[in-house]
Symmetry: C2
Subunit: 178 residues, 2 copies
């Protein structure tokens, strides 16, 4: 078959962000406003810790787990407790500013999600590589199933599990030794 283009969406994100330095800052401001609105709406307090966590998340690219986020903040001198990280992540996920993934291993992975194109994941079960992709048909399925089963669908998660080209090549090399 034809040459397969390995377009990781992560790369695209970084590229578009790098091309315009202020874009990130603007986005952060927008997200902060949305978060503020959500907090006020639910009668929750606007604490510095919550905003610090939000900033750290939007400064990151790609997936991260709680420990990575916690360590990243510590390194930057933004000390918060794990309990607060968990608490705030729940708030952000609830609001949809952050999305939470569970890829196979029992380690929750998070990702900023405001203003980024809805995407899904292909996971290599051998090397645990994660590649993103987009398919408009999923939106259609989501809408149709919601109507059919009378659910108000808020978000979805589609993961394809398989073996990547690299791992298949390695396996082939091993089975045909010199």
């Amino acid at each position: 078959m034809g040459g397969s283009s390995e377009t990781s969406y992560a790369a695209k994100h970084t590229a578009s962000a790098a091309s315009q330095g202020t874009l990130n800052t603007d986005k952060l401001e927008e997200v902060k406003k949305l978060f503020t609105a959500h907090l006020e709406n639910k009668g929750l307090r606007k604490t510095g810790e919550r905003y610090a966590i939000l900033e750290e998340i939007y400064a990151r690219s790609g997936h991260f787990d709680v420990e990575e986020l916690y360590a990243g903040m510590k390194e930057r001198g933004l000390q918060v407790s794990r309990a607060t990280v968990y608490n705030t992540l729940d708030l952000l996920v609830e609001q949809g500013l952050v999305s939470k993934h569970q890829f196979g291993r029992n380690l929750a992975q998070y990702e900023k999600s405001y203003g980024y194109r809805q995407h899904d994941h292909v996971i290599c079960t051998e090397c645990h590589k994660v590649v993103e992709f987009c398919d408009p048909r999923i939106h259609g399925i989501q809408t149709m199933v919601g109507e059919l089963l009378n659910f108000h669908i808020l978000h979805h998660s589609l993961n394809l599990y398989g073996i990547c080209g690299d791992c298949r090549a390695q396996a082939a090399a091993r089975s045909i030794p010199a």
Copy 2:
């Protein structure tokens, strides 16, 4: 503490199985043969524990977690250790006779999967109800993405998260009190 996810779709499976008493037994035999072939293929031992676990799984309907499976076996007098349950589940998942799901909470849920139609899940984030659905478009996406990204896709998991009709009705009733 935790009420587990109630499986309302289970009725579907039980109904089709109940309509023909021997169907289940035949299926179990088929699955055992496949499992045996897989064990031989990998040079693994055919132990009674492994078959006992396979039987227990195929006697169940709907989703279950490791603890439920373990407890169910204990109740039937089939004593096996948790370590063996985990070990065997891994084998079965690897072979595709059982599928593993991670719905939001970090508690792995399993389900028998041989001879059952490939299906996906809608989860209510309020009451944790799980409903199954089927959409042929997913298969197309799977194939296309596999070719595009050069992955050999083995299985997928699509979860739609939202609020079910019952929970929306309850919420509406609360906001318009008598």
